[in-house]
Chain length 329, copies 2
Amino acid sequence: MTALYDVAALGNAIVDVIAPAADQFLVDEHLAKGSMMLIDEARAVELYGRMAPGIEASGGSAGNTVAGVASFGGRAAYVGKVGQDQLGDVFDHDITAIGVHFSGGRLVGGPGTGRSLINVTPDGQRTMCTYLGAANQLIPADVDAKVIEAASIVYLEGYLFDPEDARRAFAKAAGLAHGAGRRIALTLSDAFVVERHRESLLEFIDTQVDIVFANAAEIGSLFQTDDFDAAVQAIRGRAKIAAITRSEHGSVIVAGETLHEVQAARVEKVVDTTGAGDQYAAGFLFGLAQGRPLDVCGRLGSLAAAEVISHYGPRPQVSLRDLAAASGL
Amino acid sequence: MTALYDVAALGNAIVDVIAPAADQFLVDEHLAKGSMMLIDEARAVELYGRMAPGIEASGGSAGNTVAGVASFGGRAAYVGKVGQDQLGDVFDHDITAIGVHFSGGRLVGGPGTGRSLINVTPDGQRTMCTYLGAANQLIPADVDAKVIEAASIVYLEGYLFDPEDARRAFAKAAGLAHGAGRRIALTLSDAFVVERHRESLLEFIDTQVDIVFANAAEIGSLFQTDDFDAAVQAIRGRAKIAAITRSEHGSVIVAGETLHEVQAARVEKVVDTTGAGDQYAAGFLFGLAQGRPLDVCGRLGSLAAAEVISHYGPRPQVSLRDLAAASGL
């Protein structure tokens, strides 16, 4: 059956609150630069109270990725959960406005829409403190078989490995996808997620995952090694395709016996690295769903990542389709 | 008595929802480019549903102005009203985080925080549709005498001439300010505001206002003329100081017998003109409160306006104090 969607993604539906911060602010707040840490509502209120004025923009790792896929001209669906509140309206609006089918929906009577407090230091690095709120309440019943079965690739956000119910939603999505002859992609999301769930993640990858996305820290954490090449060799036999990003050093793509090294695309000035990995995945997944060669998929990923780090905010501000055309991709 | 604040402002407390739009979108929605139009909640929901994905950022004309004053290193207070909701939290956070004293407060049990749906066309022009919500409910009791009497200049946003209660709040603020030997500044805000309230505005200017801010369209509307020079002559006798902005042609400042022409500051690329007039007022008022000559006040205004139109969002993204120092002001 022809796929209605290039990509359907399951993720934490989050609105980002993005503000500039001095390095000293991170020190004072005991935040490790570049990390993502989960916080509760009380800490969110306290930290927000000390942050600089910011802007609010729809985010969430997989949400950013489907926004990127849509910007490339791809068709996408998103499964996630927001609260019955203004930030939920914002998330719903933004993802719908770019033509992404929003599935999953609203949590009634529970916590509000999840938000990520993102402090961006002058070097462009983002340090994220995320209050998950409603996002964390994704359950198997939120996964619509019609959406999953209609997607060429089903993309799962590793952050959702924390709550038990969401992991069951992943299992349901994986079963439905493979039953319909579709592929499953997984991003490891964060080195600490990998640390918390190493064994389950490896088992899930071995049994369910066709395409793995990770950065160097995450793949190192998965195989408990600081040796990048060793980690790349280790993932080789376990997933059909693995795309490992290395910030300004580009990415490495392994698939069976083949290995591609892809350079990072040039960036005039790095403003805010929020969403770099998400947009890399967007370009890669879009290319893959369109049947492009793996090295081209990697270059589409680099292109999208370079666009998003050149401005504040985690989603593309120009048409990635036009950008790809201008780059001869 | 030494003033605790350089500027205290009364305005519509608004959160901006800023999204890119094609020129055709304005045609389809019957929106006049560059205008500000008031809309009700139903129209806001409908229009938002058709807009592109956006970012949310605290705005409101006078709110932007005090944010600019604070960015210059000035001390400011803001009197306005938001709802008991997430956008109210955002407005409160953002203005407090820059060191502005937020007075006025929260409307309980009424409409939500006001928002302005801003469509930015590729030429950088902004077309605003504003749902005032709670902002519109400012009443005299919200005006704290201690705040008004402690400000060197009290700045009033012409948009608040529409609701009767807010106009009474203006009268109270003007009375308190003059009683304490302070100065009153008024921005005409919008040509349609002037159209609706021409006689009352002229009477208010004649009896209460020391400093008038307007753009060419607004001052033309006030005196019902298309002749810019005639309008400038007409305001001369009625306010001690008038600062009239003319977009890329800079501004004209008249005070008694003196007239200064001030050039616009150079801008690499105009991205979004939202907040240009507000930031001009910020630079001008900061300069005036610091006792700088009128032409320097105008140049500080031009500098702040140039910064804000070079990016999305209505408030400065860099320190205007540093920018002024770098420009030798």
